[in-house]
Symmetry: C2
Subunit: 339 residues, 2 copies
DNA sequence: TGATTTTACCAAAACGTTTTGGAAAACTCA
DNA sequence: TGAGTTTTCCAAAACGTTTTGGTAAAATCA
């Protein structure tokens, strides 16, 4: 593996000149630069990252920790999210470091500490933000750049990241459901400490109220963002004295589980029961019947988060620190809409 | 951010002693070690990774490049796979570097080159191995440790990784299908350059033959491992003069698309048509009807690949260089089995 | 006792870059 | 012509570790 020293020796130049030629400084002549670039290429020289990082005091790496329960995580949301981060990072010659840890666990703390204090990453992307999130306080205190999907309550104006504005989306979705005669509408949510749960439940209830329907506490169930959680929650709803005729789920995976449970109870979805999700993961188009959902451009959101983070790392002026995204209602057969 | 120098100064010790105390060498007294550890802890000292890497000439990082087509990838297989790699790496205090690149593309080559030659990773995990795979030749030539899921034709005895033995699985699956009277059985596969396509198609045909059924070329269709590919392939099959009564798909995502297409053509799956997948991704339990599939322990496979890789990096003696895994047939309603 | 071994520590070199602060050579202009 | 300016290059100093090759002091042994 040739080093910069080898290249310099071959060309009878100093290390300095080679370094500066390759980095595009203008204090090296055109011909010299040409020679350097060619020789480096021919010798297969690639700068050693560790040495560069040590000297430059940065890593050209951003980090993301998948907030997954114990071993597996299977939400395609994360897959798309990671792809978006990775692609944006790669396009700026950055790398993406990935790990998994259960939300709010000691492991999570350990990894963040190792990455941040050990100087493994220049910045971090956070999602599944919690209402009170130690991560934002920790990163803020350590003065490490970071971006968030959804704003925690600890963050005021200095927030940097993406927020989804779901009010209109839920208004439209519930308008669609009530237009078909539904009035007993349930909500299968997530852990109450999550910001998305807080936001989506509130938007759901506000939309209901604005349509003249009184929200009912016993029609709000807690799931866990997985199909299994959705399945159990749906069973619970179906066992009620007066089961709902429509169910809004906090994400698509929950909805997939709910559909399954309804099927198992011989409900015909789209006729006996309307179901809607949130996210627009690829699978949602392939459930039976296809799932009505509020589609978010997850891949684009991830790229945006990475882009903002890279700008923050480079200390660029960021004109728009909060990027707001509105989900897009996809009406499919699961809500009895057009087939 | 305190460095080892700060710790040494605080304790009036040399840098050497601090370093060796923390690394557990035995040429430092019990009391000194204790003092060092406590002070380092108290000062919040964490070794700088870049400096350590530069000196040790290794990175404590393994790499994995998701072989995804253009922007998105949504296969939960990858999500589970990445989680497995990440967890195993973390348990050995290693990190996981992730990127995405279309298979066999210039981007793929660039990233591998950057990682390997720039010394960003100590080793690499490969999956979606191709029949002739430049990656294995490249890594072998550069003498970088790597492990593979599935063996490419370029690899002989020096293979290190996991192979799936699917012969029995397909035998059992096709036995199950023929027992229900199916004899026109189609196969929706993947790109012919992939090792899994090669293996699974061959296993499928051998199983058919052994059951006394002549494989028919026009019942073998090429998909692309996505639901969309499965959807299109299924439409094609349904339009045949004599459509198949059962369809075996190369992975679950393909099967999910196939189910969708069949539904859209008013086939009742499990009655008019049997469909089976491969992988056992979480979603396969929640299709309607639930999908019969050959379940692979993806998470465990990924952990195994990472573990083997770490052993290779540490130059440990590896007693078992090829770990063979057999998928497990899950009979669900999509093949007309038990409900 | 003096010779040998063990214990506990350390100075300095190395890892491969980037950056700082010049400095010689080649121009430019009056 | 000679003073200033620009161009092109470079030596040496970091960056924060780990490792090498020691050396005094203490303990052990004959």
């Amino acid at each position: 593996m040739p080093t910069i020293r080898d290249v310099a020796k071959t060309l009878n130049l100093s290390i300095t000149t080679v370094s500066r030629a390759l980095d595009g400084y203008d204090d090296v002549s055109k011909e010299t630069r040409q020679r350097v670039i060619e020789t480096a290429q021919a010798m297969g020289y690639v700068p050693n990252r560790a040495a560069r990082q040590l000297r430059r005091q940065r890593t050209d790496t951003i980090g993301y920790i998948v907030p997954a329960k114990k071993p597996q995580f299977a939400d395609p949301f994360f897959a798309e999210f990671v792809a978006g981060l990775g692609d944006e990072a790669a396009s700026a010659n950055y790398d993406l470091l990935v790990s998994t840890a259960p939300p709010d666990s000691p492991e999570e703390q350990t990894i963040y500490r190792r990455w941040v204090q050990g100087g493994k990453v220049d910045g971090v992307v956070i999602n599944r933000t919690r209402l009170n999130d130690w991560r934002v306080n920790f990163l803020r205190e350590k003065k490490i750049p970071f971006t968030c999907l959804e704003r925690s309550l600890d963050q005021g104006e200095e927030f940097l990241g993406v927020e989804t504005d779901i009010q209109d989306g839920y208004q439209e979705l519930l308008g669609h459901l009530t237009a078909q005669g539904h009035s007993r509408i349930a909500f299968i949510g997530a852990d109450a400490s999550l910001k998305v749960q807080y936001d989506r439940l509130r938007a759901f209830q506000q939309a209901l109220t604005s349509l003249g329907i009184q929200p009912q506490a016993h029609l709000v169930i807690e799931g866990d963002l997985t199909p299994e959680g959705g399945y159990q929650a749906m069973l619970h709803l179906l066992a009620l004295d007066q089961p709902p005729s429509a169910v809004v789920c906090v994400n698509d995976l929950t909805a997939i589980g709910a559909i399954h449970a309804a099927h198992d109870n011989h409900c015909v979805i789209g006729r006996d029961l309307a179901i809607a999700g949130f996210d627009g993961v690829a699978d949602s188009a392939h459930t039976q019947p296809p799932l009505t959902t509020l589609d978010q451009p997850v891949y684009a959101i991830a790229r945006t988060l990475a882009r903002l983070l890279l700008q923050a790392i480079a200390r660029e002026e960021i004109c728009q620190r909060v990027i707001t995204i509105k989900p897009n209602l996809l009406i499919r057969a699961s809500s009895g809409g057009k087939r």
